[in-house]
Structure formats: C-alpha cells, structure tokens
Amino acid sequence: MKVIFKIALGIIAAIGGFLDIGDLVFTTQAGALFRYDLLWAVVLGVLGIGVYAEMSGRVAAVSGRPVFDVIRMRMGFGIGLVALIASTAINLLTVAAELGGIAIVLELLLDAPYSMFVVLAAPAIVIVVALLPFGGIERIFGYGGLMLFVVVATVFHQNPDWGDVARGFVPSLDSSALYLYFVVGVFAAALMPYEVHFYSSGAIEEGWTEQNLKENRLNAIFGYGVGAVLAVALVIVSGYLFHPVGVEPSDLGTVALPMQGAFGETGLLLALGGILFCVGGAAIDSSFAASYNLAQFLGWEWGRYQGPRKAPRFTASWLVFLAIGVAIAQSGINPVEITEYSVVFSVVALPLTYLPVLLIAGDRSFMSDYANGRIATFLGWIYFAVIVVLALAAVPLLLITNGGGG
C-alpha cells in the first residue's frame, strides 16, 4: 500500500511539474496561430520525453549514473564539453525565463514592479530549497501545478467542435515555415534537455535502485501522459478563444485569459496559481540541472542530499547560476522571447543529450537485464531520427520566421 501511495505521489508530482514556461508559451501560441492543427506535435513531443525520461531514470536507477555522467563516459571529453557548454547556456536562459515567468505572475497578482519580483524570486527559491527535502520540493510544486487542471475544465466549458479537435491529432500537410517553426518549438519545449538531466539526477538524489524501476516507468507513462493532457488542453482553449479573433499571445498573462473567460476571477486565479507553481518548479529544476551537469562533468561532489558542506562547489555553482539567471531576466528582454530562443536553440543540443542515453540504455554489457527492450529501442531510434531532423531545421526556421514573428 505504501509503495502504491509513493508511486501515486510521484505520478502526481510529474503531472504538475510537466509544464514550464516554454510549454505554456509555445502551446498557447500554437493554438492561437494554428487552432488545433498542432495537437499531434504536442503528443509527439510528450511521448518523446516519456520515452527518454524512462530510459534516463532506468539508467540512473540501475547504474547510479545520471545523464551527464553518461554523456561524458560515452561521448568522451571533447563532445562532453560541447554538450556541457551548450546545455549550460540553454539552462541559464531557461532559468532566466522561469524567473521572469515567476515575476510576471506575481506582477499580475500583486501589481508591483516586475524587476522587484525577479530579484525576490531567487532568494525565495533558495529559502524553499534550503528548508524542504528534495521530494518535498518536487511534490509541493507538482501539486501546486495541478491547479492548471482548470484548463481542462475550460475545454469542456468551451465545448469546441470535437471533430475539429480530433482532426488536430493527425499531422497536417502545412509546409509553411511558421508552421514548421511551431512544430519544432512545441516538440522541443516538451523535450528540453534539463528535464532529463534533472530527472535522472533526481533519481540518484532519492536513492533509486532497480526496485524503483516500476515507479520510474509509471512516472514516465502516466506522469508525462497526464501532463500531456494539460498541454493539449492549452492548445485547445487557445485555439478556441484566440484563433478566431487573431490574438497573438506574446505575454505569459495571456495564457490565463481563456480561464478567466470561462470561470471568471476563480478561473483566472487558479490558472495564475498553476502557472506560478509550474514556472517556480521549473526554475528550481533548470537551475539544479545546470549545477548537476557542471558538477558531474568535472567530477565534483554533488547533490542536494549532500548539503553545502559536503558539496560546496555544487551548491556555490547553483547559487551563481541563479544569480546569472536574475541578471539575464533583469536585462529588460521579455521572458517569453528568452523562452523562445532557449527552446529553439535547445533543439540543436538535443542529439548530444539523447544519443548517449539511448546508447547506454540499450547496452546489455552495462545494463544487463535492464537494457532497452524492442519497443524502447524502436521508439528511441525513431525519436532520435526526429530529433536530428528538427535539430538541423531549428536555427534556419528561427531565422526565416524571425523567431516565430512571421
């Protein structure tokens, strides 16, 4: 019973913690611009992160090695260094975007200056991390993120043409650069590398062993699966409300408008609360991911469970990454724009993150009986092929579409 309860908690945490500012922005914009036409890309992206999160969690549980350790071991120092630099740059942009996201939501709720909240967000995160155990942090932000289920309720309140919605799950043949840019964006937002870096390191923080493999699989299937429901719901509510009137969501606050339309102030507050917990959780995840990567690459002692005394360089680097995130968020660039760039540039780094995971998870000499089976191998390679194609297309599409501006 205790095990079932623990698994349920893990799944709920994964559901709530799935969406970050990148998912919120890209799914809302995708709905506004293309109505339901990109629902298939959302599902494709979520299946992808589910497949690779399961693999990275399994590798961590069986071998005790997190993803970045695996990257360096499998790809060597040179490629590992390239991956480290790329992922650190993307993680820093993500931290900045999530901190900016926290500040935007607080500004919307309290109407005080954005810059003040950016500065306050970082110490608030430090306090939360200092006071709560690792699992507690994940659960609080995960459960808080569940407030976003108001988006699902909004879908049913809007009662869209379900036939049109269903057609959105079938890939359409639109070949315009903007459409393809959003395919890349929606897919990449779901597969941001920090998610597996954090997930696998978190597995080690929580002391996972082979006995946790069932929990890992259920997290990957149900956690990300039900998290996908939220992303799909965001596309639908945005497509229903914004597409017909030509709204182009360029601010995080716009994401909450459909819920205000459906349920008034209560809907608005639930949406903003859910967004706050999601971006808050993602700020912690991405800042930790940056420190995990650096510490694992350089062979430092690492881990929240070790505490600052046993892992001083890891803790210091985490604080430095948060401070850099604050500086970027304070630069005056719209966090939504930072998000768009971090998501699209992350696609370029995706092969360097996911290939080593795929190779090591399928290596029987390393994983013995826990190596990838046929389905995981098939899905892993299919997704890797998709990732490579998107990685090649991402930067040209970003430039051709002027960052999605058309």
């Binding site: 499998r74 790809m75 060597g76 040179g78 490629i79 390239v82 500004e107 919307l108 709720l109 309290l110 109407d111 409300l241 914004f242 009137v245 030509g246 709204v247 182009e248 969501p249 360029s250 601010d251 606050g253 716009t254 909450a256 408008l257 205000q260 339309g261 008034g264 102030e265 608005l268 507050l269 903003l272 370029v348 360097l352 930067v395 040209p396 430039l399 501006g405 058309g406």
Partner: protein, 152 residues
C-alpha cells in the same frame, strides 16, 4: 563514438554556429509592405487581446491587478508598435497613408488600454473600452485589407 564521428559532430556544430552568426548579422532594410502589414496585423491582435481583458472588467470577472498589469503591458506594446511604424522608412512610399493611419490606430489602442489601466474595477467603463477596442481593431483590419489589396 569513433574519432571520425566526433569530428563530424564538431564540424556540424561549427557549421550551424557559423550559419547562425552569418544570418543574424545580415542587416535589416527599410519597412517593406509585408512588414507594414505584419505591424498593422499585430495592432489588430493587440486590440483583440485588450478586448478580452476589458471584457473581464466589464463582467466583473477578473482581478483588478491582472487587468491593470495586462492593460499596461499591451498598451506598451501598442506604443512600441506605433514608434516602430512611425520611425521606419517605407520601401513603398505609396503606402504612406496606411502607415499614417496605422500609427493613429496604434495611438488609439494605447490610449484605450491606458484608460483601462487607470480604472480596472469600473465595469461600465470596461464595457465602453471593450467596444472602442473592437472598433480600433476593425480599423486596423481595414488597413490590412487596403495593404493586401482586399479592400472594396
């Protein structure tokens, strides 16, 4: 991964970086008809978004802080768009009238959103602003139609 494989990955990464730098460093010219069109379309989008915010105020279905902050952000965006349109040199001088009209609409939208920002708790005023933003959006749509040759 073999040494050749690593070299290939490195070359690919360097190639992508070089292409990105080359393309981002290319200059941006005058305001083309398409860019003017996009600018006016974004005004229409801002008006539509403002309408939804104003609708929340009119129905007493929002939080004042949210309506105020959203109105401020959208108003700043409209003002920025007005400045961009006013400062740019037109590639096609015959679109000067449309540009002038677009700048005026941008100013109107910005002004309306500023009013909404001042009184986010006034339902009757919210209703009025919603209607006026709808009209401003229609003006922007009419300019887009003129620019794309779809106007009657």
């Amino acid at each position: 991964m073999s040494g050749t494989g690593r070299k290939r990955v490195r070359s690919l990464a360097l190639g992508l970086l070089a292409a990105a730098l080359l393309l981002t460093s290319s200059g941006c010219g005058d305001l083309s008809n398409d860019e003017l069109n996009r600018g006016v379309e974004s005004l229409s989008a801002l008006a539509a978004q403002g309408q939804l915010v104003a609708n929340g105020v009119a129905r007493d279905a929002t939080k004042a802080t949210y309506a105020r902050a959203m109105a401020r952000t959208l108003g700043e965006e409209a003002e920025h768009e007005a400045e961009k349109l006013a400062d740019a040199t037109l590639e096609e001088p015959e679109t000067a009238d449309q540009r002038h009209a677009a700048v005026a609409v941008a100013g109107e939208i910005s002004g309306l959103l500023s009013e909404l920002q001042t009184s986010p708790g006034d339902e009757r005023h919210g209703e009025l602003i919603e209607k006026q933003l709808e009209e401003a959006g229609e003006k922007a749509d009419a300019i887009v139609a003129q620019l794309s040759g779809d106007a009657p």
